[in-house]
Symmetry: C2
Subunit: 104 residues, 2 copies
DNA sequence: TGATTATATCAGCATATGATTATATAATTG
DNA sequence: CAATTATATAATCATATGCTGATATAATCA
């Protein structure tokens, strides 16, 4: 696949509000699926499917820790995305103001 | 509009193969619509509509020069896109190997 | 082992998006 | 002014995409 097509594939992954917000959240720290569901106030299948796309696109890693699956950023080998990652706003507040801390 | 939504809007514009190729072409030099139609071998309305989106998104400028409308990059004020713009492959060959030079 | 919790997958739906054909507008030129 | 060339817009269609509800899988724990 040529460079431009590969680039559009990466950019497609980032050009969705939910996925880009997930990337912003993971910039703070690794999170499990239920963390993200809780913070973004959407359904679990929705987040699961977005995470699958990000994983297939090589933008995130997953690690199982007993019953939880933690996702983390995997962008260090994509320097051309650095500018975008840097532009993402801080999600510290979102991570702090959790209502449902059931998931940890 | 919040930062993330603004960012996704920019990224949506770049996450289409035709539009990203147009951006790569314009990185070489400004071009008129018929240049781009000729190089990308698609229809004129198709290119026109992509250019309109890029213009509305503030990624390109247009200038009329008598009957031709020239488009040029307008990304210097978006440093977070620099990494992507740098990643675009050279289009020098595409610009040189024009079959139909009717449009100039 | 049965219940619970965390996550993934599937099917369906509604909307968004890119491409095409047809048509309109605008500038140029004979 | 009529014909031509360059570009834009509109209508339509097919496909892609995101979200939801239902269900499956996997791990934990009583």
């Amino acid at each position: 696949m040529d460079t431009i097509e590969a680039l559009t594939d990466s950019l497609k992954l980032l050009s969705d509000k939910t996925r880009l917000t997930i990337m912003a959240l993971l910039k703070e720290r690794e999170l499990c699926v239920c963390d993200i569901v809780d913070i973004l106030e959407t359904t679990q299948p929705n987040i699961s499917q977005h995470l699958r796309k990000l994983k297939l696109g090589g933008l995130v890693n997953e690690t199982r820790k007993s019953q939880w699956i933690y996702y983390s950023l995997n962008v260090s080998d994509k320097p051309y995305l650095q500018g975008i990652m840097d532009q993402l706003p801080s999600m510290k507040e979102k991570l702090a103001n959790r209502t449902n801390q059931s998931c940890n």
